[in-house]
Amino acid sequence: MSLFRFLKARGTAPVARERLQILLSHERIAVGPRDLVAILRDELLATIRRHVEIDPEKLSVKMDRAEGFSTLEIDLEIPCDKVALAVQDAAPEEATAA
């Protein structure tokens, strides 16, 4: 009986490892250096919105940590028509600036 149990048991540590990796990849986004990610997100949103109208929900800012450095991932979806409009709007502005 115990022999069969030994053969069957592959250890629970791999399960622990996997659960932690999944959990932490989410928690680091949610709680990471919270202030910084929130500030960056707000400022990015404000900067982009000056030129293109976007849905705030479509902007994702994530920070992840590795040994010695962190990575910042910015993911934003902009509808095609909005980009075209923004380019047209921006052109005369640049002309006046110059």
């Binding site: 048991a9 540590a13 622990a16 490892r17 932690l20 990796q21 959990l23 940590r65």
Partner: protein, 272 residues
């Protein structure tokens, strides 16, 4: 030059106080001047682990509020003369500690000690944040167990956000002290391996302290394992970790289950 190190973990019961006392004593034995500071207001225990519970007259809060001089509150260890303790208050409210008060006391301690080890309370509340606030470096104490690893990850995030160094854009060095490690269980795949924990937390390793019955014996009598004459694996691990703190290069041996039975050896690949 003095160094302020916070010993922290997020989760309670992983060995912060034991590690602070053991590392502090081991550092002091090398002739360095060491002060261990208990930040756990209302639940102080560092005095007990060091066997100094009956010698506490003035505490951290008395000094921070100017009711006592630092010299009056410091308790010198009777076994290692370069080891000192600044106890936490057991009776006062934990809000009695302020940023300014802590900063001033830490600043004063820097004048007289080479090492200041701050024993953080568990949790991520005010007390834990104050303990890490003025630190130059951090020791993150972690057990190879999921809730401890998760909480350590959270604490690492806070160290990078809420310390003075982090706020000034400087780097705060963090090192992992893996405690209560059981090599046999890990090799059977029943416990997270050292590599697993390091991979998940991405923090360099200060040491691996194996599960050791000597630790309870040491705290029973109020003598840290590094000064009670223990030659066990945990005492050795703490001594080596202390030497790494000083800057010596001592390779970290990952404990391995040596007495493998033939049966285990045959199946060892399954657990790898």
């Amino acid at each position: 030059m003095s160094k302020v190190i916070v010993v922290t973990s997020g989760k309670g019961g992983v060995g912060k106080t034991t590690s602070t006392a053991s590392l502090g004593a081991a550092l002091a034995q090398t002739g360095q001047k060491v002060c261990v500071v208990d930040f756990d207001v209302g639940l102080r225990n560092l005095d007990l682990v060091l066997g100094a519970e009956r010698r506490v007259v003035y505490d951290f809060i008395n000094v921070a509020q100017g009711d006592a001089r630092l010299a009056q509150a410091l308790i010198r260890d009777k076994r290692v003369e370069t080891l000192h303790l600044l106890a936490a208050s057991q009776t006062r409210d934990k809000d009695a500690l302020t940023d300014e008060g802590v900063e001033r006391v830490i600043g004063d301690l820097r004048q007289s000690f080479d090492w200041i080890l701050c024993d953080s309370p568990a949790g991520i509340e005010r007390g834990a944040l104050l303990a890490m606030r003025f630190a130059d470096e951090a020791i993150v104490v972690t057990n190879p167990e999921i809730s401890s690893v998760r909480d350590s990850d959270r604490i690492i995030g806070l160290l990078d956000a809420k310390t003075r160094r982090a706020e000034a854009g400087e780097k705060i060095e963090k090192r992992l002290l893996l405690t209560r490690f059981d090599a046999a269980r890990s090799s059977r795949g029943e416990m997270l391996s050292v590599a697993d924990v390091l991979d998940i937390l991405s923090v360099p390793l200060l040491g691996i302290v194996p599960e050791d019955q000597e630790i309870l014996r040491a705290s029973n009598v109020g003598a840290p394992i590094t000064i009670n004459g223990s030659a066990g694996p945990a005492a050795r691990a703490y001594r080596d970790a202390a030497r790494r703190l000083i800057g010596e290069t001592i390779p970290i041996a990952v404990p391995d289950e040596k007495k493998k039975t033939l049966f285990n050896r045959l199946f060892s690949r399954r657990a790898a």
